[in-house]
């Protein structure tokens, strides 16, 4: 499983890529693998305001629907519309083509409360019972 070092991670298995006061968000390699074949994605609208912890979308596998939560707060400035027709991009490329939204951060310091790759790897190991 792949957890790039330049990303930040939440306990709900989202990743955050920070660029100035903007953040790109998606779900991790571990999350996509746990879900299995992703067949449907629901995304927010550009302009939506998200507080930390808000559900901003739904990722559905064949078996189940899972909420995706904002790891940090902000205003939605971009949405990956391509996922609506190709939700399987999340399985194939969770950190690339599988990105979900971009936020303009309301408080960039919130990023500091997220995990780095090694701390996240520990969490994943724990969840997998390793």
């Amino acid at each position: 499983m792949n957890f790039p070092a330049h990303l930040h991670y939440s306990k709900d298995h989202e990743w955050v890529e920070v660029d100035g006061n903007r953040a790109r968000i998606g779900i991790t390699d571990y999350a996509q693998e746990s879900l299995g074949d992703i067949v449907f994605v629901e995304l927010p609208q550009v302009g939506d305001e998200l507080a930390t912890g808000d559900s901003f979308g739904v990722v559905e596998s064949v078996k189940s629907a899972s909420d995706v939560y904002a790891p940090v707060g902000g205003k939605v400035v971009a949405v990956n519309e391509a996922l609506l027709d190709a939700p399987q991009d999340i399985n194939a490329d969770p950190y690339g083509k599988g990105w979900m939204i971009e936020l303009e951060l309301s408080d960039p310091s919130e990023v500091e409360s997220l995990m780095d790759a090694s701390a996240y790897l520990e969490l994943v190991k724990e969840e997998k019972g390793e």
Partner: protein
Amino acid sequence: MADLKKTPLYGEHVAAGAKMVEFGGWLMPVQYSSIIEEHQRVRNCAGLFDVSHMGEITIKGPDALALVQKLLTNDADRATGDRVIYSPMCYPDGGVVDDLLVYPRGEGEYLLVVNAGNIDKDFAWIQENASGFRVEVSNISAATAQLALQGPRALEILRPLTRVDLASLGYYRWTEGQVLGVHCLISRTGYTGEDGFELYFEAAAAPTMWRNILAAGREAGLVPAGLGARDTLRLEAALPLYGHELGPDISPLEAGLHRFVRLEKGEFNGREALAAQREAGVRRQLVGLTMIDRGIPRPEYPVLAAGKEIGYVTSGSLAPTLGQNIALALVAAGTVSTGGEVEVSIRGRVNRARVVKLPFYRRPKK
């Protein structure tokens, strides 16, 4: 997950890297590679399912037929020779205890194959009903393994592994014989909408059988398939799942299983209630939906007609073969008609769906 039961093939599944999940009190493989891939493999080629979690109950004795007739809504007189029958088993109020397969095993002996999550409940119910009957009821579930080999290539894969004449075994017929040297009950049944076979044999032989059948079928494209694919396959074929389309509060007539309810056969548990339902017409009916709008209908999502709630989704999923989102729904009788539109409320949003004829998928005739 320490309290969950495991089939004799648990070790094989873990070794194969299967994703294990809880199902009806059992720890079972939901997928090995991907649900969609396994689903397509069963439709186009063949898949092998471990269904050893299913329950087996035998009824033996001079009153075995009489007891089976009392328990089931279908006519067990039709289960003769090599003929297997499917039947709901009802409570006196017409609600369903379980749905099962009945194998007649010669004079005064029946094998009932029941759902994994219902084994204990069914066994208690059958014992309770057996009072006054000269029968012996045994739960042989733990000693019995079951494999389902399903798909258009199932026959060609299984044929070289046995001397039994599988080609002339008709649909819903069974026989007995050796497969890979193991004595099996072999039936041409399944739960996928495809041709295929189900094998019942002693639990101890399960790992060898599993490995050898997979090895024998590898060249033909056989793969292990999990419960995830089993569910999408059965949903496309509109086969009911206990706890979804059937249950204590759903009658077999509401579930559309009229041809498995034989009121004319005489007394049985639930007969009066079901006769009354048939007379008055059912209150609810099971219908098929295909989504027009985006969104996947999931169990318990409300179904609406012209803005008014008329029922709920019992099973729903992406249908991999059809490339559509589909659902079975239990709705108030007379509120919908085939070809008409309804709405499914998906997380509070209303999405349009079309009422369609069942099943969603029927295998092409050869």
